[in-house]
């Protein structure tokens, strides 16, 4: 009686065609310390853009621009990264706000990643020409950020409602930490912005303290906070944020800008001019 097609569609809402969350139930937490057994690109050049953004990269070839100067065209690269994107609410909101910007969600839980994948496929099908600029990948961003992005490639990074890891011995599992901020500073361009928000006050203070103490980050001004259209989305766009709002919870956000290192800090001048080859 039941054909294969209707069976597959059972997981999707009949009227919107979107996947239904209840069929993608997953654990709320995942251990970032355990060895990972999913494929990881060896370098950012090995990230297959045609798989993620077929409309932008229809050729079907790997986005290989490794030192190849023959392709004079400026190759489009991912600029926004939503770390721990969860069910993808923020990506979906950002997709139409910045239609020409490529963005990716990174999520460790495979079922949740599956859901976001299905969600994007459904959105693309229902809205031709839209949502082509968002994608998702299952990975451990705490380990593999440099495998996905080059130095200074990103202009925005999002850390929305991360796992709080209350116990002190588990603080090293937190996605914002002084040492990991070094890597985030590496992939962010100068002027790039890091957005964090949580409903756990203790974690909010922790994230703020980490960013405040880092020499390559600076809090953005009140004025910038007011004018940045993305800031409003932090608490409203994600599933987790909506849950907090429903329960009347408080949120704590920290938004910081990547700044150039001060010369007194590192004691090295004109790094860019230093070249071994010349």
């Amino acid at each position: 009686m039941m054909s294969y097609d209707s069976k597959a569609n059972l997981k999707h809402n009949k009227s919107t065609g979107l996947p239904r969350k209840r069929f993608y139930r997953a654990r709320a937490h995942s251990n970032p310390l355990s060895d990972s057994h999913f494929p990881v690109p060896i370098t950012p050049y090995n990230v297959d853009y045609s798989e993620h953004y077929p409309e932008f990269f229809p050729s079907g070839q790997i986005n290989n621009y490794n030192g190849d100067t023959t392709s004079s065209l400026e190759v489009k690269k991912i600029q926004f990264a939503d770390i721990g994107c969860g069910f993808g609410g923020l990506l979906v909101s950002l997709a139409t706000l910045f239609p020409e910007t490529l963005m990716i969600g990174m999520e460790l839980r495979d079922k949740v990643t599956e859901y976001v994948k299905e969600r994007i496929v459904a959105l693309r099908a229902a809205n031709p020409g839209k949502y082509q600029n968002i994608s998702v990948v299952r990975t451990n961003s705490m380990k593999y950020i440099p495998n996905f992005f080059e130095k200074g490639q990103l202009s925005k990074m999002f850390f929305l409602f991360p796992d709080p890891h209350f116990k002190e011995k588990n603080h090293r599992r937190r996605v914002i930490s002084p040492h990991l901020l070094d890597e985030y500073a590496y992939v962010l361009q100068v002027g790039g912005i890091i957005y964090t928000i949580t409903d756990v006050e203790e974690l909010g203070e922790w994230m703020k303290a980490c960013l405040e103490g880092h020499p390559l980050f600076e809090a953005i001004t009140e004025e910038e906070l007011q004018t940045d259209p993305v800031v409003k989305l932090l608490s409203s766009a994600t599933e987790e944020g909506q849950k907090v709002a429903r329960n009347g919870g408080q949120t704590f956000q920290a938004v910081y800008k990547r700044i150039a290192p001060s010369e007194t800090e590192n004691g090295v001048k004109n790094l860019g001019e230093r070249s071994v080859l010349n």
Binding site: D35, H37, P146, D182, P215, N266, L271
Partner: protein, 432 residues
């Protein structure tokens, strides 16, 4: 099923052996060998064995030493390992001038070229720094702790090197990564500025070395890996210049079988003029010599020099024309031999020599080794080492297994992973 887990972990404990290590003073004033917890030093200048002195009253190392090295000027020496101690020695009197306690086991150590800082890496991927400036008052000179400067997220750091100009500190890990970080003037506040990542290896990175010449004083970075390759990098940009498939070149890679066996590169060292690079590879009875064309950024195999039956576990070179090697292990499971260290020396490494004469480098006889038999007696523990093929094979196998267990990710079947989840500690507590 559950029992098999227990067995597995017990087996790992048993096979946790440490390879013997060798370090040569930059101008060959002395040579040090570490086997297990034992540190043996021979003074070639004074032609005598050295007895180490530790005034702090602490014992010497109590567990396997995992890293030894001389500072660039040869004034300082550092040793560290599984006993979570980093010991810093002055090489003129061989006194221990500082013992640093680490929270975790130490896997790599490096001394800044100005001799002011010692960095060490632990098995959780954190790199720590200790200042050696004796004028600072708030540091007791006997016992100190390091300050964390950078971290690879929960990955074992396998190697730590300062760039030739001292501007960068380079760290390699088992997640195929090499990170190049600016070493700041005040490193105690952390090293936050990442210059580049050198990505390209497809297995754990096991060793790093810089190669530089008079034309290229800043040098280039070499790395060896579990993927059986040696790679050459422009470390300021992180770009890969060349890859040398050393395992395949040595005829060690057997790809006809379904599971490709890749012997890991275990050590690299470069001659001080940058003309020659020596590579130690698992299962290679000898060393592979590479030449490095820095203007072209190319690596090429010069030759494989074989060495009867031993596989070196660690290499060392000095400005003198010698390649030092040690073959050994802290213990050989299943035999009556407590530990093993066999020191060999090649001479005649000048490039012209290698190109013109077919005999290539000469493996020195025990009596011709610098320091002679006196040196061997000290560094090997005894002059007559049982050079039984079986024993050396066992030792090589033990070292290989230990490295494999430490650095290769074990693939678990889905059922096993589910079983693990079910036997998680937090669950157990709840049910109690």
């Amino acid at each position: 099923m559950e029992e098999s887990f227990v067995e597995e972990t017990e087996n790992n404990k048993e096979t946790e052996v440490a390879p013997a290590l060798i370090a040569v003073h930059p101008t060959e004033k002395s040579v040090a060998v570490a086997v297990g917890s034992e540190l043996r030093v021979f003074d070639l200048h004074g032609d005598c064995s050295v007895s180490l002195v530790d005034d702090s009253g602490r014992s010497f190392h109590t567990d396997s030493i995992k890293a030894i090295r001389f500072g660039a000027k040869g004034r300082l020496f550092a040793s560290a390992g599984d006993d979570k101690l980093v010991k810093i020695w002055t090489t003129d009197s061989w006194h221990c001038i500082r013992t640093v306690c680490s929270e975790k086991r130490v896997s790599a150590v490096a001394i800044s070229h100005d001799g002011l800082f010692v960095c060490f890496a632990d098995k959780f991927g954190v790199v720590w720094v200790v200042g050696l400036d004796d004028n600072s008052e708030n540091q007791s000179s006997i016992n100190t702790k390091g300050a964390p400067i950078l971290a690879h997220y929960c990955s074992i750091i396998t190697s730590l090197e300062f760039s030739p100009d001292g501007q960068f500190i380079v760290s390699a890990d088992r997640d195929f990564k090499i990170r190049v970080t600016l070493f700041p003037k005040k490193p105690l506040n952390g090293a936050h500025e990442i210059q580049s990542f050198c990505l390209g290896h497809t297995e754990f990175v096991s060793c790093l070395a810089f190669v530089c010449s008079s034309d290229y004083p800043n040098g280039f970075l070499l790395s060896g890996s579990g993927d059986s390759t040696v790679r050459l990098w422009d470390f300021t940009s992180g770009s890969l210049l060349d890859t040398c498939e050393v395992g395949a070149e040595a005829g060690l890679v057997e790809s006809d079988r379904e599971e490709v066996c890749q012997p890991a590169v275990t050590d690299i060292c470069a001659s001080s003029d940058g003309s020659l690079v020596a590579v130690a590879i698992q299962s290679l009875h000898g060393v592979m010599l590479l030449s490095c064309d820095l203007s072209m950024g190319r690596l090429s195999v010069v030759k494989v020099v074989s060495m009867d039956i031993s596989i070196p576990t660690s290499l060392g070179m000095s400005s003198a024309d010698h390649l030092w090697m040690v073959t050994g292990v802290s213990s050989i499971p299943g035999t009556k031999f407590p530990s093993l260290a066999r020191v060999r020396v090649f001479s005649g490494l000048q490039k012209d020599n290698l190109n013109t004469s077919k005999c290539g480098p000469i493996l020195l006889k025990d009596t011709d080794v610098p320091g002679g038999e006196k040196l061997l007696e000290k560094l090997q523990g005894s002059l007559s080492i049982v050079e039984e093929e079986k024993v050396l094979e066992e030792a090589a196998e033990a070292v290989k297994t230990a490295m494999h267990n430490l650095l290769i990710k074990r693939p678990y079947s889905v059922e096993k992973r589910e079983l693990r989840k079910r036997s998680r500690n937090d669950r157990k507590l709840k049910s109690c």
